[in-house]
């Protein structure tokens, strides 16, 4: 349960209002200067539409979740109904440093900012806005080649670099239609840009000291509608069940710079998620969830069909909420998850497996207003695709949630 969020609703909304807003903004200022999904993280970024990212927070990752069915009320773009119980304004943001050891032993690292959101209750309705990642397309390919120029061999280096990232922005509405049932919907669009640069460097010793690199570039801007909906049901105080679905129109990549004229249009599959949490013992809860999407049509639209078709993701975990430090709850989480990645690597289906651990902590006294909470998760896993790909990675996620009146 997100106790800190729900309990603060009992406090007078006027307490410290000016300081609250200022503090919330100040706390998130550093996040605004961080790159949003702008960093490479896997060789899989070069396949299909890239490495599909999930805009999950540290709580969901800590228990191996796919983004639905966690207890309490919170902002999660994959679970539109989960914000229905937020009775005070809230903002949340996540930061995600990670590192991976690639197949050939090289190590890469990156920091990204997978999601940021804000909600504002108005009467029984809760309105929200969410920015989140969608696909990471950061990668670089290099080839050492030998050209034949006027009959003479000339060494050269070809470099292809893709930068930028695709994301999504959604505005949502949610409401508790019954004491135990909440509904939520959101609508939005894909956003972001993709930059692709090809460079060829001829050997100046072979050609001449004045040789310049050949560079050709292209930039595309993403768009495309997204509609999501979800329902949360608490059949008892011990159980939370949720489901959500996301429909996307075609992801359109329109040229915006670099002289390219090609327009990309990629169907994005209908995605469903379902999950739930059950309290096994006082302070101990078990969560499980899964998702499904069929990427076959997306593959048909790619230059080379690299999709694996149906992609499942499922995971489970436990949360032990009894531990405290300085009198404040510090839930501890463990989880396991497997994710089918939607695009093949070198013709082989790719899968991501990971173990996760996490914890949460209230940074303010339960009765303090505003409320600040931080969740942290650490994932250790591997991505594999036949013999061609074997990456090990770790990924940490820090999520800060601030609520105030």
């Amino acid at each position: 349960m997100n106790e800190s969020v729900t309990r603060t609703s009992a406090l007078p909304s006027r307490v410290g209002r000016p300081a609250t807003l200022k503090g919330m903004v100040m706390a998130l200022v550093p996040l605004l200067f961080l790159p949003i999904g702008a960093d490479g993280q896997s060789q899989l970024a070069s396949e299909g539409l890239g490495l599909v990212m999930e805009p999950l927070d540290a709580h969901a990752r800590g228990v191996g979740g796919v983004g639905v069915g966690l207890p309490g009320w919170y902002l999660q773009v994959t679970d539109p109904s989960a914000s229905a119980g937020l009775v005070v304004p809230a903002i949340t943001g996540s930061l995600q440093p990670s590192a991976a050891t690639l197949t050939d032993g090289r190590e890469v690292g990156h920091t990204r900012f997978p999601s940021i959101g804000a909600s504002y209750p108005y009467g029984a309705n809760v309105f929200s806005v969410h920015f989140g990642g969608f696909a990471d397309q950061e990668f670089r390919l290099e080839d050492d080649i030998v050209l034949n120029l006027a009959g003479e061999p000339v060494e050269a280096v070809d470099r292809f670099e893709s930068t930028g990232s695709l994301g999504q922005v959604r505005v949502g509405w949610s409401r508790r239609v019954l004491e135990s049932v909440a509904l939520g919907f959101n609508v939005g669009s894909y956003v972001g840009t993709v930059d692709r640069i090809f460079s060829r460097f001829l050997d100046p010793e072979a050609v001449g000291p004045d040789v310049e690199p050949f560079i050709t570039t292209g930039r595309w801007r993403a768009s495309g509608p997204i509609v999501g909906g979800g329902v949360a049901w608490d059949p008892s105080e011990l159980i939370r069940l949720s489901a959500s679905a996301t429909w996307s129109g075609d992801l359109k990549l329109r040229p915006s710079a670099g002289g390219v004229t090609e327009v990309g249009r990629y169907p994005i599959p209908f995605e469903v998620r379902a999950g739930g949490t059950v309290a096994l013992l006082p302070g101990l809860a078990l969560s499980a969830s899964l998702s499904h999407a069929d990427w076959s049509e997306t593959g048909d639209a790619l230059r080379e069909d690299e999709s694996r078709g149906a992609a499942w993701s499922y995971g489970a975990g436990v949360e032990w909420s009894r531990p405290t430090i300085l009198g404040r709850a510090m839930p501890i989480r463990l989880g396991v998850r497997q994710r089918d990645l939607p695009f093949h690597f070198d013709g082989e289906p790719a899968t991501e497996n990971m173990l996760s651990a996490g914890l949460g902590y209230n940074l303010t006294d339960p009765e303090a207003f505003p409320s600040a909470r931080v969740d942290f998760s650490f994932e250790r896993g591997e991505r594999s695709a036949g013999p061609a790909l074997e990456e090990e990675f770790w990924r940490s996620t820090v999520t800060v949630r601030l609520t105030g009146g």
Partner: protein, 437 residues
């Protein structure tokens, strides 16, 4: 305040995390780079890009060079004689007065007794043996240092006077001296007091010393010259004191004066020669089978496709062997800013970051190829403007030495219409561009 301090903890944590280094996964493409590109080299013959070829001369004079030359039948043709004009001697000398103490001196006028002209050669630029017969004498004709030539003693606007005899006219002989380059770097000519007295009159335009070589096949480079004079002070006529000039002017006159070429690039000489031409770049590229398999031929070309451009010049021996480069020549290329005012058009800054230094061997025997890189200039020419300044790019180029004049000799390159005419080496890279997945 308490709440704010506690919020600082996660904020600082996030800031710390944000300092992580981001690295993009880089893989060997293994042929998977999703761009088809082809690099294509072509050599445009001069007729395809060069227009309005011309050679101009007359930039600077040999008097601007730091030294001078004497030569006699060098390479069977070159005659060169050096003219020296010395500065004034000191007006007085320090001498002991008749009734003065032993170490007491005072300024005294003096009377020249005799003099010596000391010529110092550059030992690294001595050609034609080691023993040379040199003849000197004082000039008897008015001459002008900056305009004097083999035929003309004065050649300025409105004042053209030839030598009574080509090559410096008659001289009052100062004798013939033998100089052995193995024994020293200088030769000394004695001059009498009358000559010294004449040279002391700085208003006389006929004063000067003419040096010539009598040794066939010789070519000597003079580094410096000095006049030393023995004088008697008027207050102490029993004493001889030596004084010397602190200033001197050098120039040289030579024959023949090779004509400006109409068919070959001539770069250098004194006065200096330049070659100019206008570049007209093609708009399309006729590709070969490989290129046309990738793109539709003919291919429109532009600055972005050009990765290298170099002007290829082919050296050749001079028609005047006496003017073959004797030392390295530093060649530069500069745009002519007002081509319609050639040869006096102002020139723009050098296109090359460093002048191309060409060794003299390139101009001897088998022709050599000299490639002058000029990628950025040609790119700008394709664009039509300088991307930094937005100024139009002059299409007329002057090929010249880094400093004018550089030396007496000049480099010769094959010109338009000849085998080995200049060509423009261009390397383009063409691709179908980046694409989406």
């Amino acid at each position: 305040m308490r709440i704010r301090r506690r919020w600082a903890i996660p904020v600082l944590g996030l800031v710390a995390f944000s300092g992580c280094t981001d690295e993009i996964p880089t893989s060997e493409g293994g042929g998977d780079i999703p761009v088809d590109a082809v690099s294509y080299e072509l050599h445009l013959p001069f007729e395809s890009f060069g227009r309005d070829f011309q050679v101009f001369g007359g930039f600077g004079t040999q008097a601007d060079l730091p030294g001078a030359v004497v030569a006699h039948e060098w390479q069977g043709e070159l005659e060169a004689r050096t003219l020296i004009r010395f500065g004034g001697l000191p007006a007085t000398v320090d001498a002991r007065p008749p009734d003065g103490e032993e170490d007491e001196t005072e300024a005294s006028e003096y009377v020249p007794v005799s003099g010596q002209v000391v010529i110092r050669f550059d030992p690294d630029r001595v050609e034609g043996g080691s023993l040379f017969e040199l003849e000197g004498g004082s000039t008897q004709t008015d001459w002008h240092r900056r305009s004097a030539s083999w035929e003309m003693a004065v050649d300025t606007i409105g004042d053209r006077r030839p030598w009574p005899e080509p090559g410096g006219g008659p001289v009052r002989p100062a004798g013939v001296e033998l100089w052995d380059s193995a024994e020293g770097d200088s030769v000394i000519f004695a001059v009498d007091s009358v000559t010294v007295a004449e040279w002391e009159d700085l208003n006389r335009d006929d004063r000067g010393f003419l040096l010539r070589s009598l040794t066939e096949g010789s070519r000597l480079h003079i580094a410096d010259a000095q006049l030393r004079v023995q004088v008697r002070p008027t207050i102490d006529p029993d004493t001889l004191i030596e004084v010397s000039t602190t200033e001197r002017e050098l120039t040289f006159i030579y024959s023949p004066d090779p004509p400006l070429s109409t068919s070959a690039f001539q770069i250098g000489g004194a006065p200096s020669r330049r070659a100019t031409f206008r570049i007209v770049l093609p708009e399309t590229l006729e590709g070969d089978e490989e290129l046309c398999a990738l793109v539709t031929c003919p291919v429109p070309i532009n600055a972005d496709l050009l990765v290298y451009a170099g002007l290829e010049l082919r050296t050749r021996e001079s028609e005047n062997p006496g003017f073959q480069p004797f030392d390295s020549i530093a060649v530069d290329i500069r745009p002519a800013l007002s081509p319609d005012r050639l040869p006096r058009s102002p020139l723009g800054p050098p296109i090359l970051a460093d002048a191309e230094v060409l060794s003299p061997e390139l101009f001897q025997g088998e022709p050599g190829v000299v490639e002058i890189p000029m990628t950025r200039y040609v790119r700008d020419l394709f664009r039509g403007e300088n991307p930094q300044t937005g100024d139009p790019v002059p299409s007329t180029l002057a090929i010249l030495t880094e400093f004018e004049p550089w030396d007496l000799e000049f480099g010769t390159f094959q010109g338009p219409g000849t085998e080995g005419a200049p060509s423009l080496r261009l390397i383009f890279t063409l691709s179908d561009g980046v694409r989406l997945p």
